[in-house]
């Protein structure tokens, strides 16, 4: 099976919505901190704790 368009030259043009220009974008600092090892090790611990909190809150009860 292929889902390749029969001929790319025949492909109809499509334009993204103008609205996309109004999206919030992360700064360089935000992108850096997302993969900055020491900070991410700390976040790893924090996220795990937040998840454990929800796990222990959410199990079945009679």
């Amino acid at each position: 099976m292929t889902n390749q368009a029969t001929n790319p030259a025949e492909r109809q043009s499509w334009r993204p919505s103008e609205e996309e220009r109004f999206a919030t974008k992360p700064t360089g600092w935000t992108r850096f901190i997302r993969v900055f090892l020491p900070y991410q090790i700390w976040r790893y611990l924090v996220i795990n704790l937040k998840m454990m909190r929800i796990i222990f809150k959410g199990h079945g009860h009679s």
Partner: protein
């Protein structure tokens, strides 16, 4: 001796069977009926579909695991439920059709005292002409084999881009009534990451299409997160991630038809539109698997056990209500069928009372809004709770059922956004409760102190950890029962 029969060996059924077996004495039997010989850790299918993980790493053979645990395994698909037995015996049973080797197609009866329907979804590709990999014109990652086929198609597209061709990728939902937007979201962001890794990103245009009213709805009506001094809707974060990655988006749309290289869709405004593509990964809508039910005389009682969409009726409030009248308590908590109290449905197999996202129809009357997701964590919690209810009843310790309402439980979800141990990221999300409760939390329906999300490398490490942890648990290896759902 009691017989507990579980239909389906996915997240919910496998969890229910494993705990029922652990808690019940050997004088009682636990039987799993499932048409496939393998268990699939579905969340990791995303990585198979990107070509980062081979299929064999997301599946394993069930028979040896069940043999070791003392669970009987019947490789078959359930066809009909007979909760009152037949004219010659009042013992309830399920008719199953073998899918195993030379006996394939043979029907037999599997008697039960307690039945758990955990059959998950039917992937309803046929709802949209041309949708899906089986005779259609788009790909999927819903099963491990679909995901492998998708990764091969991706390789082909990458080869074309390396030869200098441009490619347009279309990813999202293939129908106005789809759920599981989270899986498509993971696919699109992983795809973008992978195309960058393969150094062809500049040749790719990547477009999202979905039935969500806003990006970040995920079938849960979106969520509000406390961040940077604001309570911010998930739309903002999702749009931001898409904009950062150069992903385009079309929302509020129902895909009507998928031709080779072209998708036709209608939006909420009633506009008829089309978009050409070179590669499309579009998820199908879900329904129940289509089991029938009969009473003792052989009269069809399917509508007594199942809702029209094929999901099984449980203790939910199914009265038709407007969005404004929806209440958290409409959601089920015991998962017991109202007509037969020894029949339960867990995971995707139970009929939800209504959606979570506000229902909408286009100007031409087409329904375009997400149906409610039942993700891995609640599916497993519900499976375990129902196993406890049944075990308590068998052991005579309690008649009161365990309760596990999605309106009273939270869910943690980690959505991969790029797989690399140093540069990868994932969105880690926690919502409480899953189903918003506007009586308890009037502003946002959820507890904004518990509901939480962030994107970063740590999330990717957690996602990798979950892959190994949940496969370890599913294989019933030492300590499995200690691993939370």
């Amino acid at each position: 001796m009691a017989r507990v029969v579980i239909l389906g060996a996915g997240v919910s059924g496998h969890t229910a069977a494993s705990f029922a077996r652990r808690w019940l004495g050997k004088e009682h039997s636990v039987t799993v009926v499932s048409p496939k010989p393998t268990y699939n850790w579905i969340p990791s299918n995303i990585w198979v579909g990107i070509g980062l993980m081979p299929e064999h790493k997301v599946v394993f053979e069930l028979a040896p695991v069940y043999a070791k645990a003392g669970i009987e395994f019947v490789q078959a698909k359930a066809v009909s439920i007979h909760p009152e037995g037949s004219a010659d015996s009042s013992s309830p049973y399920v008719v199953v059709e073998s899918t195993l080797g030379t006996s394939a197609g043979t029907q037999t009866r599997v008697p039960y005292d307690y039945l758990i329907n955990a059959t998950g979804p039917k992937l309803k590709f046929e709802a949209t002409p041309g949708l899906g990999p089986e005779g259609g014109n788009s790909y999927s990652v819903c099963t491990e084999s679909h995901a492998t086929e998708t990764s091969h198609a991706l390789d082909e597209s990458v080869a074309r881009m390396r030869r200098g061709e441009k490619q347009r990728f279309l990813v999202g939902t293939g129908h106005g009534m789809c759920t599981c937007q989270g899986a498509a979201f993971e696919y699109i962001v992983n795809l973008e990451f992978e195309l960058r890794r393969r150094k062809v990103r500049d040749k790719a245009e990547i477009v999202w299409i979905s039935n969500e009213y806003e990006l970040g709805d995920f079938g849960m009506g979106g969520m509000h997160l406390k961040y940077g001094g604001y309570v911010t809707p998930s739309k903002i974060f999702t749009e931001s991630l898409f904009a950062e990655r150069g992903l385009h988006w079309i929302t509020r749309s129902h895909v009507q038809k998928v031709d080779p290289g072209r998708a036709y869709y209608e939006n909420l405004e009633g506009d008829q539109r089309q978009i050409d593509f070179d590669f499309a990964m579009l998820l199908p809508p879900f329904s129940g698997v289509g089991m029938l039910a009969q009473d003792r005389q052989g009269t069809d009682i399917t509508s007594r056990l199942f809702a029209p969409n094929g999901f099984m009726k449980v203790d939910a409030d199914y009265a038709s209500k407007s969005y404004e009248e929806w209440r958290a308590r409409d959601w089920p908590s015991t998962y017991q069928n109202p007509s037969y109290d020894n029949v339960f449905a867990v995971g995707i197999a139970f009929a939800p009372p209504h959606a979570i996202s506000r229902p909408r129809t286009s100007k031409t009357g087409t329904a375009i809004s997400p149906t409610p997701p039942r993700t891995g964590m609640p599916s497993a919690i519900i499976g375990k709770a129902v196993a406890r209810t049944i075990v308590n009843r068998i052991q005579g310790s309690s008649k009161a059922p365990q309760r596990a309402s999605m309106a009273e439980m939270g869910a943690a979800c980690v959505a991969s956004a790029g797989a690399n141990p140093f540069t990868g990221t994932a969105a880690s999300m926690v919502v409480y409760p899953i189903v918003p409760d506007f009586e308890r939390y009037p502003d946002y329906g959820r507890d904004t102190d518990l509901t939480y999300g962030e994107i970063g490398l740590a999330g990717h490490w957690i996602k990798i950890g979950l892959h190994h942890l949940f496969l370890h648990k599913a294989k019933l290896r030492p300590g499995w029962a200690m691993i939370p759902e």
